[in-house]
Amino acid sequence: MHIVTCIKQVPDTKVIKMNPKTNTMDRSSAPAILNPYDAHAVEEAVRLKKRYGGFVSVLTMGPPPAVKAIKTCIELGADEGYMITDRAFAGADTLATSYALTQAIHKIAKQKPVDLIICGKMTIDGDTGQVGPGIARRLDIPPLTSVIKVVEINREEGYVIVHRKREDGYEVVQSTLPCLMAVEKEINEVSFASLPNMIRAARYEPHIWSVDDLENVDRSQLGLKGSPTIVSKVWAPPKPSEGEIISGTPEEQVERLIQLVLEKTDRLASKEVAQ
């Protein structure tokens, strides 16, 4: 079974600073990491490989330093890494990204047919979750989003059974293979990489492709040109104001709480009136 995992190197948004003047992320202020959801995707691919046998490839699109993210995937147990990097890809939105990755997947599949594609739920810098389903649509295979468990893969009969997360529980879904899964964090815990994998990753050189290495590429669908998304405005969400810790005897606390609730609802009511 050949599993391709799509990954992305992202700035660690836990520590990133916003440039208050331009309202954009100051990417130099944060270390580049493997998108956390993608780490779970790679982990799941490696676990499925252990369960059913097979081969795990990882694919990313990004600038040359993103090789580090591929190495992290090799540490986690992936077998091969592919990176597409070219100025032609720069400025891509989710539509253009899914197009470029799909072209790369076609090329990988020529070397070794692909049975399953696993993506993280979304990236922590874009937060859209659109690239995975975009790839599935372009490959014309079923997209299974919000996957929290892979129950069974039957390659002979060509189906997979997974659990999909819902607000009120989960649903059991059966799909044909090949398909694409976008996984949630709950699907697994990322393991502590073994020393042989760390050593292998330190030595590993991924396959690096430019746009010329891909076949049948419609350049008008790449990068900024192929991106219809318009960002009209970006702003940092305002920091929530500090809360109030209510202390005292239970009676005092209840009293204060009621007082606060009344105050707030008053304010809400008056706002409605004003509107």
Binding site: L195, M198, I199
Partner: protein
Amino acid sequence: MPEKFDCIVVGAGPAGTACAYELAKAGVNVLLLERGEYPGAKNVMGGVLYRQMLDEIIPGFYKEAPLERPIVEQRFMLLDKESAFTISYKGLEWAKEPYNNFTVLRAKFDQWFAQKAVEQGALLVCETVALECLVEDGRVVGVRTDRPEGDVYADVVVLADGVNSLLAKQLGFHKEWRPDEVALATMEIIKLDKKVIEDRFNLEEGQGCTIELLGDATKGILGTGFLYTNKDTVSIGVGTLLSGLIKHKIKPYELLEYVKNHPMVRPFIEGGEPVEYLAHLIPEGGYRSMPKVVGHGVVVVGDAAQLVNAVHREGSNLAMTSGRLAAETIIMAKEYNDFSENMLDHYRVKLMESFIGQDLKKYKDVTSFFDKHTQYFEKYIPMLNRAASQMLAVDGLSKWEKQKKVWQTLGSTGEKLQLARDMLRAWRVVK
């Protein structure tokens, strides 16, 4: 089957990286293990990097390494509560190639240095802790790491795991360091405008200055404070023997706050924004604390071998040279395929013959001497300040009378004799 390398170096600081660099350059298959997220993530020093020793490893390194400022002035401030007696040397020969020394920020510098070793062919694996040496028949044959399937083998293991060197301790090379063998340094990196730094420290653009603070900077406890200029930050810190902190019941960060607020120091950092707080142990036991540095299949380098010259605040240069000397010995040992203690002892001999052994021997009693005889820091530095104040104050007294008064500040005849004796003794210890 665990992998076997020619050599495993534990720790990607200056000593380990220098060693791995030289080994890889000679075609030795070397694994460089680092516990931090990246080399330098966990490493701390005040910030002076000497040019000569790294130049011997990577000629002309200063043209590309991430350095802060070449140092053109070194000041020594002997502090009392509200005064300072300053000695300084500034020379513009240090402002141009090949330079004397630089300030560096270790998080940046160590990454660069390790990358150089990787370019030579060393295999760097980070976020991996070496837990113990693997020993078979009395020989070190590899290390056990904290990772699954974490054993890895080698002909020789280089312990560059820093001041605490748990691995050397496990091998019985040294005991737990005594509080008078290690200093605790705490420091802050304070952000200031480039121009402000240059104005306050009297520097031309791009030049750097170091100030060592003695006396009241450490409240008279044996140790020093320091103030180093980086590109757009200033490193300020204070280091004292652990035993001194214990004896005076003072917390290290209190001492740092004290020196930051000292009236002779405060104006340098006024208005700056602290961006980092760091603390680390420094091995300052010197020659007498040096552990066993060679065993069957193992050598110890850098801080792990107590290679620090506390008097001249040199450490990273000793570390790099020790790493280089260890590499030379390992390359030779590989030619003979003999990694016995007897063969590797060549490293110890080279180390002791080099400036490292000579300097450590020269100052072998300095730390313990000043630790025992507290009057130098507690009494004589304030005395010097009072004498200077009296000498330089213009108050209508004739110069004859001035000299007499200065002479009086030195105390009674008995005290003067004591002072003379103490100065002679101190001279003998450091000469």
